[in-house]
């Protein structure tokens, strides 16, 4: 999952730095993630993992770092399994 997120981030993130150089915990907004790019990232994740982000997770926190994105996506996948 980490790899998919990094691939998407490279493709749609529009970051001024190389995604490979970002630590999992690095602040994506400080790295230059715009709100437009964060939406593109969400759309990419919805497509890649066949999920939909519930409204409660559509906030800055969920996309603050690669680790946070991983956690958010895992959370949705788990919730789906449980359902």
């Amino acid at each position: 999952m980490n790899e998919t997120i990094r691939e998407l981030l490279t493709r749609v993130g529009g970051l001024p730095v190389a995604v490979t150089e970002l630590e999992d915990g690095a602040d994506l907004y400080a790295a230059g993630l715009s709100s437009f790019a964060s939406v593109q990232l969400m759309l990419g994740l919805e497509e890649a993992f066949d999920i939909e982000f519930p409204d409660s997770l559509l906030n800055r926190k969920s996309f603050a770092s690669i680790a946070a994105v991983e956690q958010t996506v895992s959370h949705i996948l788990k919730a789906r399994e449980a359902a």
């Binding site: 730095v17 409204d55 800055r60």
Partner: protein
């Protein structure tokens, strides 16, 4: 005069009304000369309205955004430029109240602001970036305990008349354009070199000249939170709500003038309905719609403040954007209706039904953070956000 007459009514709305009386007296001159509404702002300070939002613990009155919106609306009915100065100041204060509590310097500044009634201006707009306030070119330089900033600030309302300015910038020289901070600079800690004159269609009294800002201050004056959070959690909402409230004031006064016109015509018409009456009913309908939109926005904000996740959610941003879009467009339709009702008496300056100033001031609303830009942001969010279609939710 009886004794009770000396005891002035100290309720917030009575104080705002007294300021509005002063503002109304000078409104046409402020507009015509494009000068700062000094008398109205002095009256705000005398009535101690400048510090009302500061928590009581720091010497203020802890006024809510809804209460401040009411003051904006009262002032907006008298002089839009004065009301806008008040609204913009309170927007800056909201950042201080919501995000400055953890820092000793900012707490002290709140005390000073309430005590001395300090007027705070805003420098977010930057040459080369325009209204995209979530991006900066300029960067603050932190050198030990001191920070320095130079900014090509193309619009700073009442910049030359403020007691302090809050300025956004990148957090350091290497930072990405979106990695921003906001810093409070007090008068004496900065120089302003005028670069652009504010000679505009309306809102002439806000004196929103452009300046080359150069500041140096203790680095403690940088807000301890990223500007991204400040923007999302206080500035976006308070800007859209307080601007809308004062725009509502402009429209409400226009409808009042149109109603006075129709009533005077009805008295003369002796039993027949005057021609403007139907349009007046339409305008009153739109005014209520406008009011309902703002009130619902104020409620959404109050609810979201209790829950920080909600404050940074897309649903909340979209709701606030929608308040701004609707208010800024609706006021133009309403004032235009009022103008048609009053006819040439509305078009002319210096009549009791004059609406030129209202219409010109109102035209700034769509540009003040361009509606196209806001629509663009909302449309991006709608690609992923799922709307709540319940009526009461």
């Amino acid at each position: 005069m009886s004794l009770p007459a000396f005891a002035a009514d100290m309720s917030l709305s009575a104080r705002a009304q007294r300021v509005a009386t002063v503002a109304a007296e000078f409104a046409d001159r402020v507009d015509h000369d494009g000068r700062f509404p000094r008398e109205a702002v002095d009256a705000m300070k005398a009535e101690r309205l400048i510090g009302i939002q500061i928590p009581t613990a720091f010497g203020g009155e802890g006024a809510s955004i809804a209460e401040i919106a009411e003051v904006c609306s009262i002032l907006g009915q008298a002089c839009a430029a004065s009301a806008m100065v008040f609204a913009m100041h309170q927007i800056k204060v909201s950042s201080l109240v919501e995000h400055g509590g953890d820092s000793e310097w900012h707490r002290d500044f709140m005390r000073e602001l309430a005590g001395r009634q300090l007027l705070v201006a805003s420098a977010t707009t930057e040459g080369g970036i325009g209204g995209n306030m979530r991006n900066s070119i300029c960067a603050i330089e932190v050198d030990g305990d001191t920070c320095r900033l130079t900014k090509d600030a193309t619009v700073i309302s009442y910049g030359a008349h403020a007691d302090a300015i809050m300025v956004t910038s990148r957090s350091n020289e290497k930072a990405a354009p979106t990695d921003q901070v906001m810093t409070v600079f007090k008068q004496g800690q900065y120089t302003l070199q005028k670069t652009v004159d504010w000679d505009t269609l309306g809102m002439r009294g806000t004196c929103s000249d452009g300046f080359l800002f150069r500041g140096e201050a203790p680095s403690m004056q940088i807000f301890p939170k990223p500007f991204a959070e400040i923007a999302a959690q206080s500035m976006l909402a308070t800007s859209h709500l307080l601007w809308s409230a004062m725009w509502y004031g402009i429209a409400a006064d226009a409808v009042l003038r149109a109603q006075a016109f129709v009533r005077a015509a009805a008295r003369k018409a002796g039993g027949t309905q005057p021609p403007g009456a139907l349009r007046l009913a339409e305008a009153s309908n739109l005014l209520q719609l406008l009011k309902a939109g703002i009130l619902s926005g104020l409620r959404i904000y109050a609810d979201a403040k209790a829950d920080h996740d909600q404050l940074s959610s897309m649903a909340f941003s979209i709701a606030m954007n929608n308040v701004k879009l609707a208010s800024s467009e609706t006021i133009l339709t309403i004032i235009n209706q009022a103008m048609i009702i009053c006819g040439i008496m509305g078009y002319k300056n210096g009549t009791p039904y004059s609406l030129g100033r209202h219409l010109r001031d109102a035209h700034s609303a769509q540009l003040m953070i361009s509606n196209d830009r806001i629509l663009g942001n909302t449309s991006t969010m709608l690609l992923v956000q799922k709307p709540d279609t319940s009526l009461l939710g």
